[in-house]
Symmetry: C2
Subunit: 362 residues, 2 copies
């Protein structure tokens, strides 16, 4: 049986657990997964995918990860920046599935839109806790789409935020953002890009800038201790940050093989790239001094984060009795693919002969 966990089930989980607690759990579990990450036990594949409709900024990608001896987690994720305007759908649409490594069966399938937004926020919170100045009070957000909501929520769980300055090239997205995050009770105001950059202790870039269209901010008046969570870079050619900022910062990719192809690291030589966020999490004292200097979390989206969030929701669905068990796969007989046609409730036909000879009649 396959455990189907829909949007409604995730909602029930979120309403029962509470989203602050859910975000706190995601932050703790992702931090823990970074600390315990062992390539001999966890096998990650770099994201691969198709360009859709020959548009280079529109993709459908797969992100597989295996925990040896346990499960394979697979996320299918699509990035379609035209979605909000064209169809009212989110830019990022995803579904997450879990496979039993002992039999190959599909154990669970769930929405991936909400988990992706949560885990991307949580990963930034982990990086911020490790790399930002502990007295950071002002958060700047460049790009006010769906991801920005969970970015700010996650940061609010690890920083004592005094004020938030937000900017988007789309005036409607910028204007609606304070209302979308009103549940946080923070001072959130639209701002010019220049003011935002001058004020921010922690910056988040989460834009849909097209490949070749970056950077989305200029390297002027930035705080010497600025920490940036660069969330938007996730395509070849798509980068958000000015090269000069990257060059003087400790740039920490989430997953290096991906970051050099799709992240801010595309702009850097290998010797200019810092430790991965996993390295920092495993040995935080070693990188402590960077809290007073410029740092960048190059967040391209790491399958390890998807594995963590998928397992969190799967566990909650099991504990709370949510979701539906579905007999999706035709696994009734080991040696006969037609055996399942002769089940006790095979209504249209009476016998195997009847089944196998019945002409088309519709």
């Amino acid at each position: 049986m396959t455990h189907l966990i829909t949007q409604a089930d995730l909602r029930s989980i979120a309403l029962t657990v509470g989203i602050d607690r859910l975000m706190d759990e995601a932050i703790a579990a992702i931090h823990d997964a970074f600390c315990r990450y062992d390539q001999s036990r966890t096998e990650v594949r770099k994201r691969e995918g198709f360009r859709l409709q020959n548009q280079r900024e529109s993709v459908l990608e797969w992100m597989p990860i295996q925990e040896t001896g346990e499960v394979v987690t697979m996320k299918l994720v699509s990035y379609n920046p035209a979605n909000p305007e064209r169809s009212g759908l989110p830019t990022v649409i995803a579904s997450n599935s879990l496979y039993d490594v002992k039999t190959g069966r599909l154990l669970a399938l769930m929405d991936g839109v909400f988990p992706t937004a949560l885990r991307t926020g949580a990963a930034s919170a982990v990086a911020t806790r490790l790399l930002a100045h502990p007295d950071s009070r002002c958060v700047g957000i460049v790009g006010c789409g769906a991801q920005a909501v969970t970015q700010l929520h996650a940061l609010s769980r690890v920083l004592r935020i005094a004020r938030v300055r937000v900017h988007d090239v789309n005036p409607r997205h910028q204007a609606s953002f304070p209302q979308r995050v009103s549940f946080l009770g923070l001072d959130v105001r639209p701002s010019s890009l220049a003011e935002l950059c001058a004020e921010a202790d922690v910056l988040c870039t989460a834009t849909s800038v097209p490949p070749g269209g970056g950077p989305v901010l200029v390297d002027k008046d930035l705080a010497p201790h600025l920490h940036v969570n660069a969330v938007g870079s996730d395509l070849p050619g798509k980068t958000e940050l000015p090269l000069s900022l990257l060059e003087r910062s400790l740039v920490c990719p989430d997953y290096l093989p991906q970051a050099v192809e799709e992240g801010e690291c595309q702009q850097l030589r290998p010797d200019q790239i810092g430790p991965t966020i996993v390295d920092v999490a495993k040995d935080p004292a070693r990188f402590e001094r960077w809290r007073t200097q410029s740092t960048v979390f190059d967040s391209t989206g790491f399958a390890l984060e998807d594995q963590v969030i998928t397992r969190i929701f799967w566990r909650y669905a099991q504990e709370l009795g949510l979701g539906t068990e579905v007999a999706l796969e035709s696994t009734g007989s080991a040696l006969n693919p037609y055996d399942f046609l002769a089940g006790p409730d095979a209504s249209p036909a009476r016998s195997l002969d009847d089944v196998y000879q019945r002409p088309l009649d519709r």
Copy 2:
């Protein structure tokens, strides 16, 4: 909404349509897809995957294919030869999904076990019709598992079969095979490997021989016009046929980049590999003379076949009103991942403030 098409739905389709007609349609549609295959319009990715539990003969793989401007088909398929003995499950377990290229949404998810068995049989029937001697009367089957059932069914739709000789290293699989294909009304008898090879006009190898364990037959007394559908080779190191047979045969892979890594073509130099089955289907007259000579269809499993069979079942599910529409993905709001928590039937909490602040209580 995602169209969920379960085992029960595929059964309803098969019972309504009839499996002969379903197989005939699969054969015709796959043949047609080979003839119309255009790499500028259909983008196939080579199968990639994980070894499961560090066993080299146990894998979970993904097979993506895009029809530009239409849909992406993704099959997740697991090969676990220990399944039948260990858990009574099929060796091959799969699920097939379809994605809308315009939005990235998951359009449909269905069982892939039954479709995989059908399409693998249908592909062999296409190859047999193109490459086997037209007077072929004796079919030999080496390896009597699940795939052998649909192999024989498919061949029975394109050949006038007089007798079938079958062999398996597992005596129980060999002994039970005639009963499993009794619906075909053919003369099916277990046989020694030597007798089978000496008699066969068309051979099918569909074994679970481990990598390095082949060949599964010896090159002795084989008919000069023998056509082989080599279905089992689908892993690095796994091959079923003796090199000498391959060297004197026209070896036609389904998908060359895969066959050189996982198929019988692993054993050959590039200049020893014949045209692909797509090339043969596009220009059958050119290869007509090979019908009286030795030919091999190196069937590693081609994503194009999965695309065809998945679309056939999806169309039938739509026409017959089968399957279930599920709101899997959380796509309610383009700009707010938390918006779906505030739906009209959000029972555990009354307001957004309540939702967002509610402590864990269970």
